[in-house]
């Protein structure tokens, strides 16, 4: 009976244990290492595809992201868009409400913006149009946010599926509207809205193309930080997110908090739609959100829901994306090359969280056990 057991003297080679505590310095160090590693891997991938010296490739990336004034501003603009969506998602995720419907909320906000611009832009004064644009976009996003919240708090439906499905609904509505707004007809696109009179376009501020976007997004970022950290609402959101039982125990109205928070979350994502349509593209299509509603989820989580960290994370992601677009054209790759690079970087960044949470140790060889 005992004999089979003497051979069983093997041990696992690695041991994985949860870290009790990790200093900020160390955790950011690990993330930095992940970024460097991902850049090295990207370099090898690019080298394998293009046969170029990776150094040139990285110069190409930097050039693509900030090489020219216009490129720098595109990078800033894209960063702002990603940032405001991540900021919008923050309260929802902090409440552990898995809102993966930012894509649809942004799209609905963009659609509302386009509608106001098309129907009222040419006639009303621009200030009023813009005011209506903001109101309409926030309302549209809010509507897309409150629906899953209502069904969640009333019937306990699964918000992940619900918000995901609403993305497709939004997509279909936009497709439907494009049929009406097509210009020129037959093109199946809306084209630039109010190209002549710029009705409902966000004007320049301080001589900057994206000045207003910059101000609005930064205000939202600071505002969200303050809201989450210092307000009673922010506190309630945190309690509900951590434990609904505790929330009920102290008399927090969980349903109310879920509804209110998703109105805020959806509203900000809707506003992001206005920033895109009124502030930059001046058109609407099914790809107006362009996957940023999903990328923003990663931004929010990687930033541990700190809006200021989100600035850095979204800037970095957009930087790499824009750079990748540049090298793709420079070296004649197709546009998916930039997705590959973003994918590699995200893989490393998300993977680094594992090493921040866990410690991997080599087990010391046990001589007595193996000596038999």
């Amino acid at each position: 009976m005992l004999n089979d057991h003497e051979v069983l003297a093997k041990e696992p080679f690695f041991r994985i244990t949860k870290r009790a505590h990790i200093s900020n310095l160390k955790s950011w160090g690990i993330r930095l290492i992940a970024v460097v590693l991902s850049l090295i891997v990207c370099a090898f991938v690019i080298m394998a595809i293009t046969g170029e010296n990776p150094f040139n490739v990285y110069l190409g990336i930097i050039d693509g992201a900030i090489g020219k004034k216009r490129r720098l501003w595109v990078t800033i603009r894209e960063t702002l868009t990603l940032l405001i969506i991540a900021v919008g998602l923050t309260p929802a995720f902090k409440m552990r409400f898995w809102n993966i419907g930012a894509e649809g909320q942004v799209l609905m906000g963009g659609l509302a913006t386009a509608a106001v611009m098309i129907y009222l832009g040419p006639t009303l004064p621009n200030g009023i149009v813009l005011l209506l644009v903001f109101m309409a976009s926030i309302l549209a996003g809010l509507l897309w946010g409150i629906m899953p919240a209502y069904f969640k708090s009333k019937y306990n439906t699964n918000e992940t599926l619900f918000t995901l499905m609403l993305n497709y609904v939004a997509m279909q509505i936009v497709t439907f509207c494009i049929v009406f707004w097509e210009k020129p007809s037959g093109s199946n696109t809306v084209g630039i809205i109010n190209g002549a009179n710029e009705g409902g376009w966000l004007p320049k501020l301080f001589g900057l193309d994206y000045g207003w976007s910059l101000v609005i997004v930064l205000l939202m970022t600071v505002g969200m930080y303050v809201y989450m950290k210092f307000s009673k609402h922010g506190y309630e959101i945190a309690v509900v997110g951590e434990s609904q039982n505790t929330a009920r125990y102290v008399g927090i109205d969980v349903k109310k908090v879920i509804m209110r928070t998703m109105m805020i979350s959806g509203g900000i994502c809707g506003l992001a739609g206005a920033i895109i349509v009124s502030g930059a593209s001046h058109t609407i299509s099914t790809s107006t959100a362009g996957g940023r509603g999903f990328t923003a989820i990663i931004v929010a989580w990687m930033s541990k829901f700190n809006p200021f960290v989100m600035i850095l994370v979204s800037a970095f992601l957009v930087f790499m994306q824009q750079g990748a677009i540049q090298i793709a054209s420079q070296f004649g790759l197709n546009e998916n090359a930039s997705d590959i690079i973003t994918g590699i970087i995200l893989f490393f960044l998300i993977g680094s969280e594992f090493f921040i949470t866990y410690k991997v140790e080599r087990t010391k060889a046990k001589k007595e056990a193996t000596a038999k």
């Binding site: 005992l2 057991h5 003497e6 093997k10 307000s231 506190y235 125990y249 102290v250 008399g251």
Partner: protein, 513 residues
């Protein structure tokens, strides 16, 4: 001499991250003896035994079974060595019968001969004096019956060395003494038994020898015949302590919470409280006793406005003489009416506190909504947190530490400290000392005593009858959701409470109705 040694552990160490759960522990188990492993919560008893049963693998140290050095890497290895463990949490499949659970996972032929298996099981049951019907489904069983299934399962697989992890924690006094009889029968049959416990009187009653652990370290082993409760306490805690709870006389009876014929159902529609009535008085500690899951939790939650009531009502008689019906109020309404009702729930980090938040934010839970400001005021909660930390000597790096990082005793001090900070008229506590070390436990008993003397109506759900009988003035006994007695804690016997705890239950089933 060595032939009668069943198990020997030498210098066994096990770490979890920075925690050393077992630090160079030695242990000796002889053939045909009952060995108690005694230690406070977190002293590493379960971890040590899990290394014998193949759940964990030691970082270093040697395990010898029947004189041979062995490596135990899985529960299967442990079984092959004749070691079987009955865990604190049972691992049974509800929809199967006892017999089916017992043979589950055993290698065997394609076709099962259930008849002969049941016969074999019945033989075991008769041999050791168990009380078990092999063909009963698990979901029809009481906790003690489930435990019996686990024990028989281990025996059926041929275990010679049985390890029981705190087996009496879930049992009534009667069930406990039945279990002890069975264990003594096993000892007679030559089996070695290791029983983990932190109850001293059980150690004295049952075991031949005791091994004491403290903070992961091996303190020593003594023959029970040479030991005394005082000696064992000192070994366990590391210092001499007074085990008396000083209980003052209750204040004259003044009704505070009046529970009238309440019935509650859980989500599956099962009646969890049935027509329960009693009145708590100001200036007393009213104990609530019962087997785990007899409706204690629901009763407190019903009073706190967290559990829907199907029928009946709950009245609050304020010290000013007003009467308020609180049974149709939610927790928020009770708070807004400024009825100072404090509640320390069983699930401290899942209901009473938020684990990831720091001390200040947790203290703030009760008061954050005061005032009309949009922003929360953290100044006062911070002051209060500092005061609680000082007054109750909470061990914490600062008031900015997440409560999750504190030990069980300190978590409980924070929770209780917050709840009594409002000088409540009613203080409800559920299992207030579960998981706490002896020193913290006595501090909590004293705090409850203070509240009683200040005139609060203290309602305390407990699991250790000895403690309830020493701490409370009156004890309400629940059995399967029914109130089976309200007794005087000073005069009642433990056996009498034990009988009330099981009295009106049909066939011992937990899920009657």
């Amino acid at each position: 001499m060595d032939s009668e040694v069943a198990i020997r552990l030498q210098n066994v160490t096990k770490r979890f991250g920075d925690i050393i759960a077992n630090d160079n522990v030695n242990l000796l188990v002889k053939k045909g003896e009952i060995l108690s492993i005694l230690g406070e919560n977190g002293s590493g008893k379960t971890t040590l035994m899990n290394m014998l049963s193949g759940i964990y693998f030691p970082d270093h140290g040697d395990i010898t079974v029947h004189g041979k050095k062995v490596t135990i890497r899985s529960p299967k290895d442990a079984f092959a060595l004749g070691i079987g463990m009955i865990h604190q949490h049972f691992k049974l499949i509800d929809v199967l019968t006892a017999a089916e659970n017992i043979i589950l996972g055993l290698p065997g032929n394609e076709s099962l001969d259930m008849k002969s298996i049941v016969a074999e099981i019945n033989e075991l049951v008769a041999k050791y004096g168990f009380d078990l019907d092999p063909e009963q489904k698990i979901y029809d069983m009481s906790v003690s019956q489930k435990q019996t299934v686990e024990i028989v399962k281990v025996l059926y697989r041929g275990a010679e060395i049985l390890i029981l992890d705190e087996p009496t924690a879930v049992l009534t006094p009667q069930e406990t003494s039945k279990l002890f009889d069975v264990l003594r029968n096993m000892r007679k049959a030559g089996k070695s038994i290791i029983i983990i416990t932190h109850k001293l009187n059980e150690v004295m009653e049952l075991s031949d020898r005791v091994t004491v652990l403290r903070k992961g370290q091996y303190i020593g082993s003594v023959e029970t015949s040479d030991a005394s409760i005082d000696l064992l306490t000192e070994m366990m805690v590391g210092q001499k302590i007074d085990l008396e709870i000083d209980r003052t006389e209750p204040l004259p009876f003044v009704g505070r919470i009046e529970v009238k014929n309440i019935t509650c159902r859980n989500r599956d529609g099962v009646a969890i409280l049935k027509d329960v009535s009693f009145t708590s008085s100001a200036g007393e500690i009213l104990g609530i006793a019962g087997i785990a899951g007899s409706g204690q939790k629901e009763l407190l939650e019903a009073i706190a406005g967290l559990q829907e009531i199907e029928s009946g009502e709950i009245l609050y008689h304020s010290p000013e003489g007003e009467t308020v019906t609180i049974s149709d109020m939610k927790a928020a309404d009770i708070r807004d009416l400024k009825i100072s009702l404090a509640f320390v729930p069983e699930d401290r980090l899942g209901m009473g506190l938020v684990g990831s938040m720091d001390l200040t934010d947790n203290i703030m839970l009760r008061s954050y909504n005061e005032g009309k400001h949009f922003f929360a005021n953290r100044k006062n909660p911070r002051k209060l947190a500092t005061r609680i930390v000082e007054k109750l000597s909470v061990v914490t790096p600062s008031v900015d530490t997440p409560v999750r990082k504190l030990s069980g005793g300190n978590v409980q001090k924070i929770l209780l400290g917050r709840e009594i900070a409002s000088s409540p008229n009613v203080l409800m506590v559920a299992y207030p000392v579960r998981g706490l070390d002896i020193n913290s436990s006595y501090m909590i008993y004293n705090l409850l005593g203070d509240q009683k003397q200040k005139g609060a109506s203290v309602i305390c759900v407990g699991e250790d009858l000895d403690v309830l009988m020493a701490l409370c003035d009156r004890i309400v006994v629940l059995s399967g959701g029914e109130l089976t007695g309200i007794v005087d804690a000073r005069t009642i016997s433990k056996e009498a409470i034990g009988l009330l705890m099981t009295s009106s239950k049909k066939g011992g089933a937990q899920h009657a109705e």
